[in-house]
């Protein structure tokens, strides 16, 4: 059984093409089901976000699967293959694990370390799993990727610090006020930046959002968008006195809030956080000298964003190390799967012998009471398990697939293992993994 990945991402394809090949805008569940049905692949998962459309499959014949996947893409998206084939990238086996783990960790994202992608990977697997398109191989691959994402987040600072100006502002607000629930926000000016920041604050659960601007109509428009209320421009100073967080972004050439304005409203106990994202600035810089006033302008926020970005890139190395480590672990698991059918057959054979012997001795054991008989059964079972424990572990720990096949073959011959249909077990090994294994020996 091989792992195979085919897809496009922001690294290989322009946005126009990614849009054409996107699964997420339509029903991903339907897509993964269609893929499952139309190709010979045993297991399939479709990961589709705005930056990537990737098909993960486990199959026997990689070359054939690849052709089928290309054909599927062309048919499903109704796009001639020659338009997208040059932009496709493909991975096999451990490279698939390496790629998915990097994606889940946020290492392959446009903004390195962004946390949403892990949720998207989880959703993609969930959808495939619900429709029974993912089997044991992709199950292990994806659950491992969740673990990688979690490890990278907890063990490195890859996802830390805001990397956009508006998020940096929200983060600062939380550092000053703690929970933002009930905090009052004043938005001055009716630009996009102010609106965006107000929206971020809204999702943080702030209380009243008041918007004021020189053009009342535009202020009302934003008020509707962020679930706030607009007040006339003349109400600016009273509104300032009532606010905890002020976002100001007007096109005014002169400061609209002076140090004296701010000082006049600071006879209160709570701090005032002013985010001045206007150029030229709306608030006299001196206002920041007032005790309990925190004044940040757009340059300050951009500096924070730059620092956070460079801090993130300093963490990339550590995150890559975690990915490499987990790929190694996954590959060890995958290797151990090669011997699973042999191990299962061996255990079945031993157990059959055990039962036969107990059956044979049944007349002699019939004099014993039920309790003792149960114990005899238990003891024989434990002996068989103990005898098999070491060889099982040794088989699973073999370093490469070739050696494992050779050892499995030897075991099969030594113990005369045959499958039900008379074929030697090893010939069916690869196929056996396709069925969800009911008995998974330790």
């Amino acid at each position: 059984m091989h792992l195979f990945l085919l897809g496009v991402s922001h690294r290989t394809a322009p946005v126009e093409l990614r849009e054409r090949l996107d699964f997420s805008s339509r029903d991903v569940g339907a897509a993964v089901e269609a893929l499952c049905a139309r190709t010979g692949a045993a297991e399939t998962v479709v990961l589709s976000t705005c930056n990537r459309s990737e098909m993960y499959v486990a199959s026997e014949d990689v070359a054939q699967t690849k052709q089928e996947l290309v054909r599927f893409l062309a048919e499903y998206h109704q796009l001639p293959a020659d338009q997208f084939v040059p932009h496709l990238f493909a991975r096999e086996d451990d490279q698939v694990a390496h790629h998915l783990f990097r994606v889940a960790a946020g290492l392959d994202s446009l903004v390195v370390g962004e946390p949403q992608v892990l949720g998207q990977v989880k959703d993609a697997f969930g959808v495939a799993s619900e429709r029974r398109c993912a089997g044991p191989f992709l199950n292990k691959l994806f659950t491992s990727s969740f673990a990688v994402g979690k490890r990278v987040r907890t063990e490195t600072a890859l996802g830390e610090g805001a990397v956009s100006v508006s998020f940096a502002a929200v983060q600062l607000a939380r550092k000053i006020f703690g929970k933002l629930a009930g905090r009052r926000v004043l938005v001055i000016g009716a630009g996009e930046m102010g609106k965006l920041t107000a929206q971020h604050l809204r999702t943080q659960g702030v209380g009243d959002i008041v918007i004021t601007g020189r053009t009342q109509a535009r202020a009302v428009e934003i008020a509707v968008a962020v679930d706030g209320r607009a007040v006339p421009w003349s109400e600016l100073l009273p509104a300032l006195g009532n606010a905890d967080i002020v976002i100001t972004a007007t096109g005014s050439q002169l400061p609209i809030i002076t140090k004296a304005n701010v000082a006049a409203v600071m006879d209160r106990r709570e701090p005032l956080f002013i985010i001045d994202i206007a150029i030229p600035r709306d608030v006299e810089p001196g206002a920041g000298d007032i005790e309990q006033v925190f004044l940040y302008n757009v340059d300050d926020l951009q500096t924070i964003v730059q620092e956070n970005l460079s801090r993130r890139s300093a963490e990339i190395q550590r995150a890559e190390e975690i990915v490499a480590e987990e790929v190694g672990r996954f590959m060890a698991w995958r290797r151990s799967r090669t011997v699973v059918p042999t191990v299962v057959a061996l255990r079945q054979q031993f157990d059959t012998i055990r039962r036969a012997e107990l059956q044979r001795l049944d007349s002699k054991l019939s004099g014993l009471d039920a309790d003792t008989r149960a114990r005899v059964d238990e003891i024989t079972r434990l002996i068989v398990e103990k005898l098999l424990l070491e060889p099982t572990e040794q088989l699973k720990a073999l370093p490469d697939e070739e050696t494992q096949v050779a050892y499995a073959d030897a075991v099969r011959r030594l113990f005369g293992l045959r499958a039900d249909d008379g074929a030697p077990v090893t010939a069916r090994e690869a196929g056996a993994a396709k069925r969800p294994s009911t008995e998974d020996p330790r």
Binding site: T154, E160, L172, R174, K175, I176, F177, G178, D267, R268, R269, P271, G288, E291, Q292, F294, Y296, D300, T303, I304, E307
Partner: protein, 274 residues
């Protein structure tokens, strides 16, 4: 016997420091676990000492320091478990360790002083030590508030910014610990005055009892402490002294507490040394 909790506290202090520097949640949990174990063992040690000589739990400087450390550990653990903020541990544990070192090296007076054989003494000492533990917490909260305030104000978001709880949380916790500390301090002082009056009336010939007066340096410093914290409370309510000013006040208040506890206790007090 005080060395055993001291050793455990040292381990906890190291773990809290590692947790603070590396922000490793696992190490943080380990630090809390070790501190809980330390406080538990310490409880046992103090219990044993109290059984040994009935009122000896705080009847010497050594035992008072040990009880102080123990109460501080308990108060800190309470704060940590209720707020789920571990960042303060790195500041509190050194104080606990220093107090425990004092209690380990200082001679533990085993001669019970008949003057201290009074239920008033228990209330007096326990409430004062608990008040000091609260002030220690408030002082640390104030200090961390100032450190983080500086970073945010100067727009250099760095070491403390990424590790400490928000300014608001620090300020609210500071207000709470100061209030609790002030109530206990008031109780301790009032009980002390009543008890001293009684003791003076009961043993008119004991020079130590007769020496209790406002002029005693230790009593003077305690009164100063009370004035500082009373002012902190009043200022917060009426003058809007929250945030940085409140933080500075509580840090200064705790410096006075340490002054009353350490050098004055050993060097200059006349009546109040037992």
């Amino acid at each position: 016997m005080n060395a055993i909790p001291l050793a455990i506290y040292l381990v906890a202090a190291a773990l809290y420091a590692v947790h603070f520097a590396r922000r490793d949640a696992g190490v943080g949990r380990a630090a809390t676990t070790v501190l809980v174990a330390g406080a538990f063992v310490h409880t046992f040690v103090i219990g044993m000492q109290t059984m040994e000589v009935w009122n000896a739990a705080f009847a010497s400087a050594s035992r008072a320091a040990s009880t102080f450390a123990w109460l501080l550990a308990l108060s800190y653990l309470y704060t940590e478990l209720t707020t789920e903020e571990r960042a303060m541990g790195v500041f509190i544990l050194p104080i606990i360790v220093v107090l425990q070192v004092i209690s380990t090296v200082a001679p533990s007076g085993t001669q019970p002083n008949p003057l201290l054989d009074s239920p008033w003494f228990w209330v007096h000492m326990l409430s004062l030590l608990f008040a000091y533990a609260s002030f220690a917490l408030a002082g640390v909260l104030g200090l961390t508030y100032v450190l983080q305030f500086k970073e945010i104000k100067k727009k250099s978001l760095g070491f403390f910014y990424t590790r400490l709880p928000s300014l608001q949380v620090l300020d609210v916790m500071n207000a709470r610990t100061v209030t609790v500390g002030w109530i206990l301090l008031t109780v301790g002082v009032v009980v002390g005055v009543i008890w001293a009056t009684q003791a003076q009336a009961a043993s008119p010939l004991d020079p130590q009892a007769q020496a209790f007066s406002i002029g005693d340096p230790k009593i003077l410093v305690t009164m100063l402490t009370w004035v500082v914290y009373s002012f902190a409370l009043v200022a917060r309510r009426t003058m809007g002294w929250s945030g940085r000013k409140a933080a500075w006040l509580s840090a200064a208040g705790f410096a006075i507490v340490m002054l009353s506890f350490l050098p004055i206790n050993y060097l200059v007090t006349t009546s109040h040394s037992f």
